[in-house]
């Protein structure tokens, strides 16, 4: 595990969104440990001031695992320096960001292979025998 960047929360020069958000993350982690229930936070729904999102990202840092997904444009799924806290970014075909989320979970759902795709894939594999 890499050491998270120690950017002091209180030193945030911005508009007061970071601190309460991190507090929410803290509670989500507790919930995850206690009830194994995952939480998703839509970062687009928060009124970030200029530079605030970047600040948050720097603060959370980069963890051990990151993945790239290519479906309807690329997506990056990255564990932050805080295990269980994932940073997700969805991009469209023009490589523009269309969604930004924090997922507090063991594994983001989107990383798992989906039954529907498995079924389709299996069928495709079966076709190879013919």
């Amino acid at each position: 595990m890499t050491t998270p960047q120690h950017v002091p929360i209180t030193a945030s020069p911005f508009h007061g969104n970071v601190r309460p958000l991190l507090n929410e993350v803290l509670h989500a982690l507790d919930k995850l440990l206690e009830t194994r229930e995952a939480t998703t936070i839509d970062l687009a729904s928060l009124p970030f001031g200029p530079g605030e999102l970047e600040h948050l990202e720097a603060l959370l840092g980069t963890g051990e695992l990151s993945a790239k997904l290519d479906a309807l444009g690329s997506s990056s799924i990255r564990e932050t320096a805080y295990p269980g806290v994932w940073w997700l970014e969805h991009r469209n075909a023009f490589d523009e960001i269309v969604g930004r989320y924090l997922e507090i979970t063991h594994t983001p759902e989107i990383l798992s292979s989906q039954d529907a795709d498995i079924i389709a894939g299996r069928a495709h594999l079966e076709e190879q025998f013919e």
């Binding site: 009124p47 969604g99 989320y101 989107i110 795709d117």
Partner: protein, 351 residues
């Protein structure tokens, strides 16, 4: 009427994986301003949603709304939406024109009677039907004819929603809003000059995915986007509370990003999603760019005082009338005193 394919079927046919679909649903939830916990329900709804016919009518407008929508920051998603709708009439975008176009409109109306959506941008002139016509048909006639068989009407932009700039004082064309004319169908107002593209797509998505109209406020605006003021969600709000205000566009306060209330910001009375959804792919919004909110999504925004006049400014007439009131006060006081003195004199005489 032939059965239109479901959105799920369309996506499958396009070879979109389940992962891609989940991503699409997450983005949709984001657009609909729904909590991420709603994603599974959205997925289920979208899978079963059917393609809907849409007729877009443009009246007294500047095409800014269409521009805004077609520059939607999420072309893929928008593309998907537009795959899921059938835009059967939009005289600015469609290749066909004149009678041909009108024929397409009539065909769509007949084919989808009772189920199609009507989108309107621009206000409707009542002063003289000839002020604005399409293929010789006046706006008001075309609206009434088209709306008759519609499931719902969406008024896109402040002109369609509230009369907008054409309806501003002195309103030379007698422009009115869709709401003023359509009373027997559900009308959803998506005001803004222009509205945020995401909001437009979201309203359509909502209708398509859930088959129902969103929850509306008193002005028929979707609460999900128009439920809070710019001021409430503004990242500069802490400066307002601290009493730190930019006084000019180039002073220290402006450079430090202080509150723009004093420069006339209408954020406190403007209900819109700009502060969170933002513009240009979530890049920024007017206040972030250093300009006060004009309140463009509110009724009468053009006439409600100066754009650069603080909200708390009273609208007074000239000081002359006040001086008149003062003079009236002097006169009344003098009359009252004279009456009092006359009474005293009378009583003194009576002893």
């Amino acid at each position: 009427m032939k059965k239109r394919p479901t959105v799920g079927e369309i996506l499958q046919a396009k070879g979109v994986s389940r992962r891609g679909f989940l991503k699409y649903c997450a983005t949709t939830a984001s657009i609909l301003a729904l909590p991420p916990s709603m994603i599974p329900r959205i997925a289920e709804a979208i899978e079963n949603a059917r393609r809907t016919s849409v007729i877009w009518l443009s009246f007294q407008e500047c095409t800014g709304c269409t521009e805004s929508l077609t520059r939607s920051a999420s072309p893929t998603v928008e593309g998907l939406i537009f795959d899921a709708i059938s835009l059967d009439y939009h005289h600015t975008l469609q290749a066909a024109a004149g009678e041909q176009a009108e024929a397409a409109r009539h065909a769509a109306m007949q084919e989808n009677d009772g189920n199609y959506l009507v989108l309107v941008d621009g206000s409707i002139p009542l002063g003289n039907p000839g002020f604005s016509t399409i293929a010789g048909i006046s706006n008001v006639d075309m609206l009434k004819e088209t709306v008759a068989g519609a499931a719902a009407v969406v008024a896109i932009g402040s002109c369609a929603a509230f009369g907008g700039i054409p309806g501003a004082d002195p309103n030379p064309t007698g422009a009115v809003s869709v709401m003023d004319l359509v009373t027997d169908k559900p009308v959803i107002n998506v005001p803004g000059c222009p509205p945020i593209p995401m909001v437009m797509t979201a309203v359509l998505t909502q209708f398509l995915t859930f088959g129902e109209l969103p929850e509306l406020d008193a002005l028929s605006r979707p609460l999900a986007f128009y439920g809070q003021t710019i001021h409430d969600r503004c990242y500069r709000r802490p400066f307002y509370e601290q009493g730190k205000f930019a006084k000019t566009f180039d002073d220290e306060g402006a450079k430090a990003g202080w509150c723009l209330y004093k420069l006339g910001c209408k954020g406190p009375t403007t209900y819109n999603a700009c502060a969170t959804t933002k513009w240009n792919n979530g890049t920024s919004f007017p206040i972030e760019a250093g300009h006060p909110c004009l309140g463009c999504s509110e009724p009468n925004f053009w006439d409600d005082g100066g754009f650069y006049e603080p909200l708390s400014t009273g609208h007074f007439d000239s000081g002359e009338k006040l001086a008149g009131a003062a003079a009236a006060g002097v006169a009344l006081g003098a009359v009252a005193a004279a009456a009092g003195r006359r009474r005293q004199a009378k009583f003194m005489k009576e002893g």
